[in-house]
């Protein structure tokens, strides 16, 4: 076996390994007779000065990005917008039941919607305040935004998958009650007033709650 082959094999192993590998680890995984030290030496030489370098730490070998490029890694790291489970669930209810009040969200979820969950969704621009329900207390109703549609690749709310698609997707079991229905988020709600301009939520009724 040629040194070049061993070099390639070590390169692949170190790259795909979950952590640094010792020479013994490499010997064990390579075909018999592989000259691991020599191959490591040429490999280290090959990567010298590149964006990725071969480093030896605590008697083990690993690839790592070059020290001088650290500025690339740290400054521009971007967190993906990962929705918490609670946020995901709340978003799903708002999407299907809109316009929906906070109390209604809670009644479906069976737990109190924490103020923070709705806040996150509002802040991400996935959810908006739509209007006020024409019921005592005139609670604020929530709905989804255009950004929501864009995020999920929907042309309009009418494109939200309904019960039939859920069944195809294997999400609906047969043990659901016969009257189980998924609401149509596109339906026009008659008992809702639009939010006027400057109709800011009232702090004590809308944020502190106590319906």
């Amino acid at each position: 076996m040629s040194l070049a082959d061993t070099e390639r094999e070590i390169e692949a192993l170190l790259f795909a390994a979950a952590g640094p590998l010792s020479e013994a680890d490499l010997v064990k995984r390579l075909p018999e007779g592989a000259d691991v030290p020599a191959a490591l030496a040429t490999l280290a030489e090959r990567y010298r000065g590149r964006g990725v370098e071969l480093a030896r730490v605590a008697e083990r070998w690993r690839f790592q990005t070059a020290q001088d490029l650290a500025w690339l890694m740290t400054d521009e790291r971007e967190e993906p917008r990962r929705l918490s489970r609670a946020a995901q669930e709340t978003l799903a209810i708002i999407a299907y039941h809109q316009p929906v009040t906070r109390a209604e969200i809670e009644s479906v979820r069976g737990v109190q919607a924490s103020r923070g969950t709705l806040d996150v969704l509002l802040e991400l621009g996935l959810v908006r305040m739509r209007g006020r329900r024409r019921t005592p207390g005139r609670p604020v109703t929530y709905g989804t935004t255009d950004a929501f549609l864009e995020h999920y690749g929907l042309a309009s709310l009418a494109d939200m998958p309904g019960a039939a698609e859920m069944r195809v997707a294997g999400l609906l079991n047969l043990d659901l009650p016969a009257d189980f229905a998924v609401p149509d988020p596109n339906a026009i709600s008659l008992d809702e007033d639009p939010l006027d301009d400057g109709d800011a939520p009232e702090f004590h009724t809308d944020y502190l709650g106590k319906e």
Binding site: A17, L83, E89, Y96, H151, N173, V182
Partner: protein, 268 residues
């Protein structure tokens, strides 16, 4: 709803049954339905699917179904429907062409050509599926970087959570909602019988007017019947005793305290 019916037609189920030794074994070689059987038959003719003799194919299919039925293979309805349909097509192909085409009915040759086209398409899809599987598949043939600790750059613009996860999140909750049960705590009450027995035992000592609150027992506050239950049961029991003539009750005005005493001269 076809849901309850469809699984019976599923050949996976039949195969599982065969594996369990419960069913007659007919080598269906992964055939899932009529088109697949037709396709397998067509392939064995080793001809261009688009120039296939549908007539020959229909004959072979009918033989296949006959054979399978003879071996008591529980044939799915799909197979029989296709068999009937092919038999009809065969007869149309064999009969001399009518001078005037009947109504809207497409010529048999055209229907046969379409069937051949569908078979060619299905065949193409199977080949494509095999071609995809010979590609360098992630985590089978090629591997990306393995060390999760060292990952420091995360691609942006990736959508976290797709429509499917949104639907799952929704259904998960609605299902939870329908299966939610309300189990109120069982309220323990002070039994009327107990109140009656207790009052009877107390009668000898009740020779003067005593407020109801003083007659009703006190239970432990954290468990057992509530104070209200003690009061209510005691009142009910006392009224029964009044009716029996063993006891007297009086209330001077509405909402005032109720007073009880044993009837004078009667002590039991």
């Amino acid at each position: 709803m076809s849901e309850g019916f469809q699984p019976g037609l599923d050949f996976d189920a039949a195969r599982t049954a065969a594996d369990d030794g419960e069913a007659l074994i007919v080598d269906v070689d992964g055939y899932e339905g009529p088109l697949h059987v037709l396709l397998a038959l067509a392939r064995s003719q080793k001809v261009d699917l688009l120039k296939l003799s549908v007539l020959k194919l229909a004959e072979q299919y009918l033989v296949f179904v006959q054979e399978a039925r003879r071996r008591r293979f529980s044939l799915a309805a799909d197979y029989l429907v296709m068999a009937a349909w092919l038999a009809y097509l065969k007869s149309r192909l064999l009969l001399p062409k009518p001078e005037q085409p009947k109504g809207e009915e497409a010529p048999a040759e055209e229907i046969a050509a379409r069937l051949a086209f569908r078979l060619a398409k299905l065949d193409a899809m199977r080949t494509a599926s095999e071609a995809l599987n010979t590609r360098a598949i992630l985590r089978r043939d090629v591997f990306t970087r393995g060390d999760p600790e060292a990952i420091r750059v995360i691609p942006s613009g990736r959508i976290e959570g797709d429509l499917y996860s949104l639907m799952s999140a929704y259904i998960g909750q609605r299902t939870k909602e329908t299966s939610r049960r309300y189990t109120p705590p069982v309220v323990t009450t002070y039994p009327l019988e107990d109140a009656r027995d207790r009052l009877r035992r107390m009668l000898p000592d009740l020779d003067r007017w005593t407020p109801l609150a003083g007659v009703a027992p006190f239970g432990p506050s954290d468990q057992g019947p509530s104070r209200a239950s003690f009061l209510a049961s005691t009142l009910s029991a006392s009224l029964e005793l009044v009716k029996d003539g063993a006891m007297e009750a009086r209330q001077l005005e509405a909402f005032a305290d109720v007073f009880l005493r044993a009837t004078a001269g009667r002590s039991t």
